[in-house]
């Protein structure tokens, strides 16, 4: 097992290097420099001023040297500074991380809490009214553009009904509120974004839970349990679900890049200052240190997620412990 783990971990290195190389290449191939935003078409910024800034930022160096310099820093966990505001990239990321993680985690928990029971009950009677209804419902969330659902939610619940704030994370007077009221204020602001993200995310998981459950319910030990006269609830959630959950673990590891993509759009619409927004702004401003850091860390987390899922899978199912790959 240790040898396997070591081999897998070593296998991550070329993938990670490949990712940094590709993203560095893409950033450099893309026309434009990080200095553009401040200097392009600003008649007060002379050509000399621009060249001076590029020199100061090290952008006049040959590409391979820029890449190696970056790699050397990253090896020491230093992602350098953002070209846009001169702050350490690490600071920027740490500042934005909590919001995005909170929202995604909240959405993920809700998805789990809703999708798994939906899938399980749908599996009890595949093709029944409940199954049909939920199938169409979850597929609607999956098939609609997320930003469209978000806009409709804002327009109806935010503007017409005024139940929830249109956007943002805090009320203007948030700071003056007591601790409890502050928490409620933030939660109130999060209802729409988390709600929309949950609705969009239901389909994948509930379908997995459903098909996994259908599979499991056909197994002999379920029949045995039924024969023993156990309650249907106990059969479903104790015997059935435990085994049906297995494949679900694996899709979580792969969900990360999708979450980042989803965050870009949701955070823009709801004016939430999170990682997705940071990433989008950085790509558009060619702020290459920020982009590289986010892509590298995102990729690393994805790869570790995959690895973890594989390990969990192997641990739970001895049949695949050896000889996979």
């Amino acid at each position: 097992m240790t040898a396997y783990l070591l081999r897998r971990l070593l296998g991550l290195i070329p993938v990670l290097l490949g990712i940094t190389l590709i993203s560095f290449g893409v950033m450099k191939l893309a026309p434009g420099e990080p200095t553009d935003a401040s200097l392009q078409f600003n008649p007060k910024a002379s050509l000399e001023a621009r060249e001076r800034m590029e020199r100061l930022l090290g952008l006049d160096q040959p590409l391979h040297r820029q890449y190696l310099r970056w790699l050397g820093r990253v090896a020491r966990l230093d992602f350098d500074r953002s070209f846009r505001d001169g702050r350490l990239v690490t600071d920027q990321v740490l500042e934005r991380l909590p919001v995005t993680v909170t929202i995604n985690l909240a959405a993920l928990l809700l998805v789990f809490g809703i999708a798994v029971p939906l899938g399980v009950f749908a599996a009890v009677r595949p093709g029944g009214v409940f199954d049909r209804l939920t199938t169409v419902l979850v597929f609607i969330g999956y098939s609609a553009p997320g930003f469209w659902l978000a806009l409709l939610a804002i327009a109806s619940f935010g503007v017409t009904l005024r139940w929830f704030p249109v956007s943002g994370l805090h009320a203007i007077d948030h700071e003056a509120l007591g601790l409890l009221r502050r928490g409620l204020d933030t939660a109130w602001h999060l209802v729409l974004p988390v709600g929309v993200m949950t609705f969009v995310g239901l389909a994948g998981l509930s379908r997995y839970a459903r098909s996994g459950m259908i599979e499991v319910l056909r197994q002999d030990y379920i029949r045995t349990a039924r024969a023993k006269g156990l309650s249907e609830r106990r059969i479903l959630f104790h015997h059935g679900l435990r085994n049906a959950l297995l494949p679900i673990i694996t899709i979580l590891g792969l969900a990360l890049p999708d979450l980042i993509a989803g965050s870009v759009v949701m955070e823009t619409i709801f004016s939430i200052p999170g990682m997705g927004r940071l990433f989008y702004d950085a790509v558009m401003a060619r702020d290459q240190n920020v982009v590289m850091a986010l892509v590298t860390v995102g990729a690393l987390l994805t790869l570790l997620g995959n690895l973890l899922a594989d390990l969990a899978y192997a641990y739970a199912d001895p049949r695949i412990r050896v000889g996979r790959r």
Partner: protein
Amino acid sequence: MRRRFVRYAAALVAGLAAPALLAAQSQPVSGDALVVSSIGDASRLLPLLATDSASGDIVGLLFNGLLKYNERLEIVGDLAESWTVSPDGLTITFVLRPNIRWHDGAPVTAEDVRFTYEKLIDPSVLTPYSSSYQLVESVEALDPRTVRVRYREPFAPALESWMMGIIPKHLLEREDLNTTPFLRRPVGMGPYRFRRWNTGELIELAANPDYFEHRPYIDRYLYRIIPDQATSFLELLTGQVDLAGLTPLQYRRQTDTPYIRRAYRKFRYPSFGFTYVGYNLQDARFADRRVRQAFNLAIDKPALIDGVLFGLGTAASGPYPQESWASDPSIRPSAPDREAARALLAEAGWTDHDGDGVLDRDGRPFQFTLITNQGNEVRRQVAELVQQQLRALGVDVKIRIIEWSSFVHEFIDKRRFEAVLLGWSLSRDPDLYDLFHSSKTREGEYNFVGYANPEVDRLLERGRRVFEQEERQRIYREVHRHLAEDQPYTFLFVPDALPILHARFRNVAATPIGIAYNLIDWHVPPEEQRYRRMSP
């Protein structure tokens, strides 16, 4: 020299007196907050490094320069109580107001001004503004309130360059300006003090009780970052935003609801900039002035303004808005005249010989590509209308829309274009050296159309060397005449700025410089105040 000083001082007094009079009429009470929405976040809150509009907005409230423009676009003193320009134009002496203090209580002195200058020309500071100070020979602090700036040669735009915000020496002396924590919690001397900055979400400023003019009446200034235009408008519909910029479409069609009519006020004034079609003058077809003149006659500017800006703009005859003293009032925007345009083109050899509806010369049809940048809806629509109008003249125009970065690097900088649709937003000084002087044609410089007229070169050089207003006016009006005659650009229109502001704010007026010039005098009657007072 004496006479000049008296005139400047008079302007200064007039500038101060006007808001005071207005304020007296309505008994302002302090309190409440102004919530402003912005598409983007600020990046560095230091005048020297502020390049994006968000940073500029905030820095403008935290820091003052030595001079400023008043609402009639005249240069008046800001931190400077008075200033004198020596007769040879080589020395400017500023005298600071007494008793100006930084937000931390330290006095603002001439040393701070000298420090600001030193940082502006320091090659290790990431400022794009250094070029305005290249001609400075020395900056001396004669005493705590007096600064003397010497120039190597006379440089008229210098006065505008001293509108740059002054930064505190005692806080920044030992800091690396590019990375100092000061950039995120700045200390200035302006009407508002910095309170907090939640990245990507909100910047909050609080009224400065010790501001040298008087404490602003509005207690708090809240700058909300709302990146999505649709969301921003929905926030307005629910009254969560007090001040925002509207698009022409929103101004004309979407703000006509009973709620907005009741709760908000819309303003309209010409912005300082213009939209134009620029031609690559290296291209033999466009090198012929008659072709450019013909296009100017063929393009129906009022139709563009009606169609794209919903009438919210003014047709342009040159680079200056009509309100500018540099604009020659005798030059009117040309009335569309297709027949005259056709005649000019025929003179230049372009007629429809083969009868296919497209003009041709030497067997080659008149066809070119007009490029513009992606992401600007107005420009895209203008391009389409220009295409239609030139089509009616018999010129076949293709449109290509290109992402901003590659637009600049691959097409403009490398001169790989035939015609380009763009806009300039300019400072108030009429100097156009960077845009039209024949020396500014290197890659990355702004005379990318390649305009070269020795007479205009001479005028632009001279215009930078004289301070005398009448003389400058004569010079720049002549520049205006040359440009209108040569048509290196087809100057299309000056769009209007369209702010919308919650109606509870009083003492607000649209002026050529905008509505925010007297922000410190805005106030809200106590019964209409919305946001509670916060302890500082």
